[in-house]
């Protein structure tokens, strides 16, 4: 216990932790706080411009087919494979494959498709540096035998041909082609869910986790890497290596101290948010405990994994490598997050998003996946800490000195 307190104290005094603290507070006040400007009431909820994704095959299929046919005619497909725009132009063989997909989904054959192309009106749109012909295609007849399952399958092939990230990615079809504004009744239903099922606070808890999760998936790595490498940097490592304490106890104590200290600013923000919610919704009974529960499940695995990876990679390679790996993983996760920013949590989603106070049912639809991902990343974090113990024990006994790519201990260097 004493060691744990000392480790916590060490972290509190480190500059990386102070910056971490400031970053969490900054994120909280700049991103989440504006959502608490005024309470959600049955009369103000209309201003949130809620949209719904009907997901009905009858809506999706014709719209998606029209869009794909138009793109096929101009041979220009807009893709966002890693979050950034990419205009895809296919070679004739691949474009023919798209044609085959279209003819399977529609009742038109290749010749009829050509006729449609000739009959379609053309407008010019600027895509990138080029003025491209854009075909206004409407009402391509769907094949009578096509089922929605088969349609999704074919669209999956189309997305593969385009290299991924297109509008036709099966999981994005519903969002891209069946989005429409909610009716007033539907909006009121959302309000009821917000009040009755989320008991106000849980909805805020999700939004809070959404914003803070963005940075908690990456910045703990700095605090962890700094803590691990401080021993070497201050030439204290041999003093510590020669102590009686087991590597297991030392590494786990440090990990626990890292996680606990890094949870503190999050709890502080949670407390501030709770106070604000209680004040805004005087007269109601917001489920503050529920909000802390959802945020805890959501954010704790993020902090744990980022900290554990920071410890493990710093011990195995270097702090720089730990930062590089975690930042690259964060960047890819962020860039590949699909729109809309809710209802997309999968079994292996690291950075979970739910950027709204509403759509509770969308979140609950994936709740088991959400729990799975949280357990998975908690387990991954613990596994990374165990590996750290192993590496630490090897280093401590002089069996291993860490992997270096460059310099005199480089693994590429011929040892003499």
């Amino acid at each position: 216990m004493m060691l744990f307190i000392r480790e916590c104290k060490k972290i509190f005094h480190s500059l990386t932790f102070i910056i971490y603290f400031a970053a969490v507070i900054l994120m909280f006040f700049t991103q989440f706080w504006p959502a608490m400007d005024e309470p959600v009431t049955s009369s103000t909820i209309d201003s949130y411009e809620l949209a719904k994704i009907s997901g009905e095959p009858e809506t999706i299929m014709p719209k998606a087919l029209d869009s794909l046919t138009g793109c096929y005619f101009s041979n220009t497909y807009r893709c966002y494979p890693y979050g950034l725009f990419k205009a895809v132009h296919l070679n004739s063989r691949d474009n023919d494959k798209i044609r085959d997909c279209i003819t399977e989904m529609s009742s038109l054959n290749a010749d009829e498709l050509e006729e449609l192309k000739a009959a379609s009106s053309i407008s010019h749109v600027k895509v990138g540096t080029n003025e491209l012909e854009s075909y206004n295609v409407k009402g391509v007849p769907l094949s009578e035998d096509i089922t929605y399952e088969r349609f999704r399958e074919i669209m999956g092939e189309v997305d593969d041909i385009l290299g991924g990230g297109s509008d036709y990615r099966p999981d994005d079809l519903a969002y891209k082609f069946s989005q429409e504004p909610m009716t007033h009744e539907e909006i009121l239903e959302q309000y009821d869910e917000f009040m009755e099922k989320d008991h106000i606070a849980i909805a805020y808890g999700r939004l809070f986790s959404d914003y803070l999760g963005i940075i908690l998936a990456v910045i703990p790595v700095f605090v962890a890497a700094a803590l691990v490498t401080a021993d070497k940097r201050t030439k204290m490592n041999e003093l510590i290596y020669s102590r009686r304490i087991s590597s297991f106890r030392l590494v786990f104590t440090r990990f626990a101290a890292l996680v606990l200290t890094m949870v503190i600013p999050v709890l502080l923000c949670g407390a501030i948010a709770s106070a604000r919610i209680m004040y805004m919704y005087k007269g109601s009974t917001p489920d503050i405990a529920g909000a802390f529960e959802v945020s805890g499940k959501w954010l704790l695995p993020d902090i744990m994994l980022a900290a554990a990876m920071g410890m493990f990679i710093s011990e195995l390679f270097s702090a720089g490598m730990a930062i590089l790996v975690q930042f690259a993983a964060w960047f890819m996760c962020m860039m590949m997050t699909s729109m809309p920013l809710y209802g997309h949590i999968g079994r292996f989603t690291f950075i979970c998003r739910h950027n709204s106070l509403f759509y509770r049912s969308e979140f609950m639809k994936h709740y088991s996946d959400f729990i799975f991902s949280r357990i998975f990343y908690t387990a991954a974090a613990l596994a990374a800490v165990l590996l750290t113990v192993f590496v630490y024990e090897l280093k401590r006994g002089g069996k291993f000195n860490g992997i270096m790519f460059f310099g005199k201990d480089s693994i590429f260097r011929h040892k003499t």
Binding site: T16, T30, P81, L84, F85, G128, T129, I323, M334, F406
Partner: protein, 208 residues
């Protein structure tokens, strides 16, 4: 004479300390076209890969300038050497800036070759953004005497831009993506001030 000593120190530095960083910066430039489209983009689209990815070369190249002397005893040793420490750092910084300019230049020229609408402004704008990220890392690493803190500050600044976007007004480093170039001169001035203040800090307070 001092310059000669410093140049020799820097040469050995590059071989032993900075090569991985230079290679990583080059790797960022090489990998970008594999993941993001760089061809046939208009002016704003072209700014996306440049500002969001190529600018990270600044963090990689400028933050670790003080890295070899992070250790207290090594720093004392360096102080006692013939090569003036600040001159050595300045040469390292200049090499970093030069590489940054070259890598940004290569990216912009490659995009031009791929028929994207890039101009000289894309080059200077991207270089300014990269320099901003790099100088924040350089400044914090220098003042805190810890390169990890340098990376942390630089990447947090990047993340802040990623999230808060144009709310940052004149300090928005991805402004060309919104079609605005005015921010760049502020960013450049800020970077220059940060770099200068580190040298002032070393000279006046730490008395190197």
């Amino acid at each position: 004479m001092a310059l000669c000593f410093s140049a020799r120190t820097v040469y050995s530095d590059i071989r032993h300390n900075f090569l991985p960083h230079y290679l990583l910066a080059a790797a960022i430039v090489v990998i970008t076209p594999l993941f993001f489209s760089v061809s046939e983009l208009d002016s704003r689209q072209a700014a996306q890969p440049l500002e969001m990815i190529i600018s990270l070369t600044g963090t990689v190249l400028l933050t670790p300038v003080f890295m070899p002397e992070q250790n207290e005893s090594i720093r004392d040793l360096i102080r006692s050497k013939k090569a003036p420490y600040l001159l050595t750092c300045m040469i390292r910084l200049l090499i970093g800036l030069l590489l940054l300019a070259v890598l940004t230049g290569i990216s912009v020229l490659y995009m031009k070759k791929c028929h994207s609408q890039v101009t000289f402004r894309h080059f200077t704008g991207t270089a300014a953004s990269a320099m901003a990220l790099g100088s924040i890392g350089f400044f914090t690493a220098g003042v805190s005497n810890n390169v990890i803190i340098g990376y942390m500050a630089s990447l947090l600044c990047y993340i802040l831009n990623f999230i808060a976007r144009d709310k940052l007004s004149i300090f928005f480093i991805f402004s060309m993506m919104n079609g605005s170039y005015d921010e760049k001169k502020w960013i450049f001035v800020l970077s220059f001030a940060l770099i200068l203040s580190v040298f002032m800090y070393f000279k006046l307070i730490r008395k190197y």
